[in-house]
Amino acid sequence: MTNPISSDKIESEDIDPQFTERIVEAGADRIRTCIQCGTCSSVCPSGRRTAFRTRELMRKAVLGLKDEVLASPDLWLCATCYTCLERCPREIKVTDAIIIMRNMAVDEGFMLPQHRKASQKLISTGHAVPIDDANRKVRKDLGLDELPPTTHSKKKALRDVQKIMKKTGFKKLIEGQAEEGA
């Protein structure tokens, strides 16, 4: 007779202990002390309206369920309001842990198209939200310089910023190998 209750069994090969270790090393050093109290989920503004459960994410992180965590779109529902980090009775840097896991997810190729677009704008202009024609006009009307005194109007500064993004590998990360050197 088969078991009528389908159990979500975690297989040993799903567990990557190195995953937890990397989160600890990157700064969320107290994550293993999580007692699954659920305070993080209870204060989460995204969790109020979606199936995103911070507690579940922390549990999976501690278990080392790397593939499941990194592929999950839930990872991108955190608005980084830091309320969970403030309230955690174990003083776990919950928000930092999420950011660390996002970095790993991107490394594995999980990148939301809108985020890639903002990053491309950063690479080409130095601003994730660059100026547009309408706001050039508003600036002028208000008596401000039409272009702000940022990378928008300083070519050398933009080149420096682009150089930095090339050195750190950001350009490659966003634009991929194919366009490297283009």
Binding site: P45, A79, E86, D132, P149, T150, F170
Partner: protein, 298 residues
């Protein structure tokens, strides 16, 4: 006290490129408080704590360090009017100050560029500088008290948290901004879930607009129940969220439920200092500020 303080004014992205009216109000009002703003020439995106820090932390740290270095080389502390930029600078500074190897890492990235950085600069928020002057001092400067104006104060998240790396006396239930608002003669009104996030940060607005706007809607509904004349904020990204979410919600609902004027602190203070609303960019809002201005001039 009367000695002018000078800062390198960091603009970020959203303020100069989407809401230049806020930038204008800061540039007009801060000198009236004895605070001199020097342009931080060649600054870039802070970079955004939601997307860039989430994508590649070392790139986030290096670009943040470059902006901080520009101020450090100018001999000033860096001053920002955006909670997101403030968060980036506070977190990046503590990272390089607490971990000398990370400071070396960014210095290595700057190799061959004329950028020197020793992490000796401080990052301040505009409201922090005003708060340090004290609400009493602001009250003394006010010439046109905004009596009878009811305000829903929105602090935002990164101004306050993580509290271990923020300058405020308390870790929650803050009152410093309410005090600065009330120094103008207006009244800060209590409302449900005042400390709730606006929903824009963390890259959520960028990728999950519906969820992001739904968080803003919860906040807006609570603010509507409090029957206020405006929302007051100190963050260009929270400002964007409240300015854009209201017309979007109205469109979706086919009604005009959400029409709460959204204003920035230096715009409110400017009015109380007797400045013209046009000079404060109050005629450049997506949600009309006219009902608020009409009530003030009454």
């Amino acid at each position: 006290m009367t000695e002018a303080q000078k800062y390198s004014f960091f603009l970020g992205c959203v303020m100069p490129n989407r809401f230049p009216n806020l930038e204008k109000s800061i540039r007009v009002v801060m000198p009236m408080l004895g605070i001199e703003l020097e342009d931080l020439e060649g600054a870039s995106c802070c970079p955004a704590p939601g997307v860039v820090r989430s994508f590649d932390e070392p790139t986030w740290l290096a670009l943040a360090a470059r902006n901080l270095a520009l101020a450090e080389m100018a001999g000033n502390d860096i001053l920002t009017g955006c909670n997101g930029c403030y968060g980036t600078f506070k977190e990046a500074l503590s990272e390089v100050q607490d971990h000398p190897d990370r400071l070396k890492e960014v210095q290595k990235v700057f190799d061959g560029m004329d950028i020197t950085f020793n992490a000796e600069v401080e990052a301040k928020h505009i409201i922090e500088v005003i708060s340090n002057m004290g609400a009493d001092r602001i009250r003394e400067l006010v010439t046109h008290p905004l009596n009878g104006i009811r305000i829903a104060v929105h602090y935002g998240c990164h101004l306050l948290k993580p509290s271990k790396n923020r300058p405020w006396k308390k870790t929650q239930n803050h009152t410093f901004l309410d005090e600065l608002v009330e120094a103008t003669g207006a009244e800060s009104i209590r409302y449900k879930d005042k400390s709730l996030c606006c929903g824009a940060g963390g890259g959520v607005r960028g990728s999950n607009v519906a969820i992001s706007v739904d968080i803003a809607k919860e906040k807006l509904d609570n603010i509507l129940s409090a029957e206020v004349d405006c929302i007051l904020n100190v963050c260009s990204f929270c400002h964007l969220q409240y300015e854009l979410a209201q017309p979007q919600l109205n469109k979706e609902l086919g009604e005009k439920r959400y029409q709460i004027p959204v204003i920035y602190y230096t715009q409110l203070l400017g009015l109380a200092l007797g400045l013209d609303s046009g000079e404060l960019g109050l005629d450049r809002h997506l949600v009309s500020t006219q009902p608020l201005l009409d009530k003030i001039s009454r």
